[in-house]
């Protein structure tokens, strides 16, 4: 025997001794049984895997299952050893696939197994089976069309272990969800020497939201496979051609022992492991741009959503804050939803919005709700309203933009105290209070008013009286101008004017003289007659009446062709007038009347010549 073989046998013997010692220790411990399922909440059309494990003992027979609400399908048995605190123990697992037969909260009763002379039982398990809604309450189309527990056979054929990846759609809009499923399938009795190391695919160009991992059993060509499914909700960020990279998994498998090899026992523990590296193929995805006819309030949401709003209290008071809660719920990238456009709230002071998301990652689609809490402080009392809040999203199934509107909220606000700053502490001094001016709460039309109402009539400036009234001043100015002109003419051509007006003036004076006929005193009459004749002659010859001399007058009259008889009569009238002013008693009343007539006749005759 070679030295090497001796050493090897020694080592094996030492290890065997240790294992035997350990086995005794393990045997000395109480066996443990437990049962667990891959999911406790499931749709009716799916199935779950049930594993019943026995630790620390080798049961002689598998357990007998009696589960009334499920159809039970055996999925193989696994045997392994585990090291706990330096001691090894056996682990036998019995795998089953359960198909529910009804909905509701169903119980998997305790499963019993005989080990030696004793029976051991697991704890009951409650499973909630609900009607199949296709992955979420908001999703209907497409969700229920795929049997969720059916796995396609890979193109390269069945292998004991393989890794696949697929997407639900190969074309999608920007922001539309793409479900990426990476499935790791292995035969149930495959024994892994270590935990697999999984590397996610390259998902550049997508917002990634991992969904809950699924564990279930499936059957491929009559072979049961245990499936671990990792799901991702992918949301393309831009249009174009993209590719989801390869996912990788690396695992070490324990090789099956050769029953004819005398060292097979040891081979289970040393060296007979096989390392596998599995890859998925890259998946091309075509991402389409959203239609260009985007509404003004569209903020990028893609999916199907509903909007609701409410306030957290109805006991409202001026100055007392409350929350307006706007909730958007639906299918899509809920976390990325932006705050919907809140209309201008005139009667409230608004503060920053706090948002929070609730996501459900169990289904095929990422769905959930995002809540926007807007802190408001009423500024006015009475009946006020919060206008409708609208939210627009793109529905990829209908290929159109959809606007959902939450109804208006009517609120009754009680009067209260409104601090200057709206929310400062009451202990602030007056000097610390922020200054505030007039604040426009609502800009609307001013109220109706009362006023005079009168019949429609022509405008003031179209009325005849107004026009006539305004003609008077210009006429006055015009008359003034004419008068002024005439006055100037009279001043510039005084001699001519006297000549022309001589007879008129003389006649006027004689009419005045006629009033003196009844006067007992003849002097005024003869004075008037003398003045009339003297002024007439002075005006005709452009002389001064007081400076008339008979000789000069006689010459001028002769030159003008006045007859001697007329000159004689003129002289007699003038002389008599002079005499009458000094010897009044010698002139009878009849003589005065005759003298006046003679004077008038004389002047008429002279006017004809002059």
């Amino acid at each position: 025997m070679k030295i090497g073989e001796i050493v090897r046998h020694f080592c094996r013997g030492s290890i065997l001794a240790c294992l035997v010692t350990g086995s005794f220790a393990a045997l000395a411990a109480e066996p443990q049984v437990k049962a667990h399922v891959s999911a406790t909440d499931m749709p009716l059309t799916s199935s779950i895997s049930l594993t019943f494990e026995v630790v620390g003992a080798e049961p002689g027979e598998p357990p007998t299952l009696n589960i009334p609400d499920f159809e039970v399908e055996k999925a193989g048995q696994t045997n392994s050893y585990q090291w706990i605190n330096g001691q090894s123990s056996s682990l036998v697992g019995y795998n089953y696939v359960l198909h529910p037969t009804k909905t509701g909260v169903l119980q998997i009763p305790p499963i019993s197994i005989r080990i030696g002379s004793q029976f051991y039982s697991s704890q009951p398990i409650m499973v909630n089976v609900h009607p199949d809604t296709g992955g979420g309450p908001q999703v209907s189309s497409g969700a229920g069309s795929l049997p969720s527990r059916t796995v396609d056979i890979p193109s390269e054929g069945l292998k004991p272990v393989f890794l696949t990846a697929n997407v639900d759609v190969s074309k999608a809009y920007v922001g539309e969800q793409i479900l990426l499923k990476v499935q790791f399938l292995r035969l149930p009795d495959l024994r892994a020497a270590s935990q697999p190391r999984y590397s996610e695919p390259d998902m550049t160009g997508f917002l990634v939201e991992p969904l809950n991992q699924q564990e279930f059993m499936t059957n491929l060509n009559g072979n049961p496979y245990q499936v671990t499914e990792v799901r991702y909700a992918l949301f393309p960020t831009s249009e174009g051609e993209f590719a989801i990279g390869s996912a990788h998994i690396e695992l070490a498998l324990r090789a099956e022992p050769d029953p004819f090899d005398p060292n097979s026992f040891f081979q289970n523990f040393f060296g007979r492991t096989q390392t596998l590296k599995l890859n998925t193929r890259a998946i091309p995805v075509h991402v389409r741009a959203l239609p260009k006819s985007k509404p003004s309030n569209f903020t990028g949401a893609v999916g199907r959503f509903k909007i609701q709003d409410h306030v957290d209290t109805t006991d409202l008071e001026v100055g007392k804050p409350f929350n307006l809660i706007v909730t958007i719920e639906g299918v899509g990238n809920v976390k990325a939803l932006q705050e919907p456009a809140i209309p201008e709230l005139n009667n409230f002071r608004r503060y920053e919005t706090i948002s929070s998301s609730k996501l459900n990652k169990d289904g095929k689609f990422l769905y959930g709700s995002k809540e926007f809490k807007i802190l408001l402080i009423p500024q006015v009392s009475g009946q006020v309203s919060i206008p409708p809040v609208s939210f627009t999203y793109f529905n990829p199934e209908q290929h159109e933009y959809v606007t959902e509107t939450a109804p208006s909220i009517s609120l009754q606000v009680k009067p209260g105290k409104l601090n200057a700053g709206g929310n400062e502490s009451p202990g602030q001094s007056a000097a610390e209070l922020p200054q505030e001016g007039v604040r426009i709460v609502e800009k609307t039309i001013r109220f109706i008013k009362d006023g005079p109402v009168k019949p429609v009539g022509p405008a003031v400036y179209l009325r005849g009286t107004f026009i006539l009234m305004n003609l008077i001043p210009p006429l006055f100015a015009l008359v003034s101008l004419i008068t002024r002109r005439r006055s100037e003419i009279r001043r510039l051509r005084a001699g001519e004017y006297r000549y022309q007006k001589a007879y008129t003036q003389a006649a006027k004076m004689l009419r005045l003289a006629k009033r003196e006929l009844n006067n007992t005193d003849p002097a005024p009459l003869y004075t008037a007659i003398s003045a009339a004749v003297s002024n007439y002659l002075a005006d005709k010859f452009d002389l001064s009446a007081s400076g008339l001399i008979w000789d000069d007058l006689d010459r001028r009259l002769t030159e003008k062709g006045i007859s001697a008889e007329l000159k004689k009569s003129l002289r007699e009238i003038l002389d008599e007038a002079d005499m009458a002013r000094f010897a009044t008693s010698s002139f009878a009343s009849a003589d005065r009347q005759q003298r006046l007539k003679d004077t008038i006749a004389l002047l008429k005759k002279m006017e004809e010549v002059l």
């Binding site: 800009k443 609307t444 039309i445 001013r446 109220f447 109706i448 008013k449 009362d450 006023g451 005079p452 109402v453 009168k454 019949p455 429609v456 009539g457 405008a459 003031v460 400036y461 009325r463 009286t465 107004f466 006539l468 009234m469 305004n470 008077i472 001043p473 210009p474 006055f476 100015a477 008359v479 003034s480 101008l481 008068t483 002024r484």
Partner: protein, 253 residues
């Protein structure tokens, strides 16, 4: 001189007396109807309030308050075009009324361009009647002083002489102002009262739409045909035809 003064005074007093007497004779009191309509408005019964306001207008009554209230009713009913129309009519009766100006501005707030220049705002600061009365006073002052000056009663650089110059300048300004205002008032202007405000390239539905005007826009009325009106937008140099029912002239006459 005193004789001319007497004639002047009588000439002034007589027409004013006749005018006042004739105005008083025609006066009636529809004020109760206005108050009733306002009460209905306050109760929110806009349709009945509108009926009363419109009845008053159809009966031949006018008033800045009446037109203003009509504008308010239409504004509350969401008819911005008609609201602008009646506010504009109210403003022409009471151009310095701040309430009318405010509501008119609010009713026009959706318009990019109100179509009113600063020059027009100045011209419309007074009504034509106010300008006419003002010009009338200036006519009297100026021409009386001018007549007296001609007659020689006013000489040199005394205060009446300066008053003559001052009143003459004021009269020239007032006359130009009055003329400009009259030009704008009698320029046929309309307001688009139908929301589409489609202006076509010809008087008929078969013609294509050349441009659109938002409700409440003011346009110049250039020509009228049965059911169609030719309008112009001076600022943009645009012309087109609108259905008559989509447009209403500001002037009620």
């Amino acid at each position: 001189m005193s004789r001319w003064l007497c004639v002047g005074l009588i000439s002034v007093a007589l027409p004013i007396g006749c005018w006042a007497a004739s105005d008083a004779g025609r006066k009636s009191d529809p004020h109760d109807a206005l108050v009733e309509a306002n009460q209905l408005f306050e109760k929110g019964d806009l349709s009945r309030a509108l009926n009363i306001y419109q009845d008053l207008v159809q009966q031949g009554f006018e008033g800045a308050a009446l037109y203003y209230d009509l504008g308010n009713v239409y504004f509350k009913m969401g008819e911005r075009g008609r609201a602008v129309l009646w506010y504009e009519r109210a403003r022409r009766l009471a151009p310095r009324d701040s309430d009318i100006q405010f509501n008119l501005g609010l009713a026009r707030s959706h318009l990019k361009d109100t179509g009113e220049s600063p020059f027009e705002r100045i011209l419309f600061y007074f009504t034509p009647s106010e300008l006419a009365v003002g010009a009338s006073v200036l006519i009297w002052i100026f021409f009386i002083l001018l007549g007296l000056r001609i007659l020689g009663s006013i000489r040199g650089e005394s205060w009446p002489g300066l008053a003559l110059w001052f009143s003459g300048i004021c009269l020239a300004v007032a006359g130009a102002w009055f003329g400009g205002t009259l030009y704008l008032v009698y320029q046929p202007t309309g307001v688009v009262i139908a929301p589409p405000g489609e202006v076509r390239n010809g008087p008929g539905e078969d013609y294509s739409v050349g441009f659109t005007m938002p409700e409440g826009s003011e346009v110049t009325i250039l020509n009228r045909r049965p059911d169609w009106v030719q309008v112009g937008v001076v600022q943009q140099g645009l012309k087109g035809w609108m259905p008559s029912k989509d447009l209403e002239a500001i002037s009620l006459s």
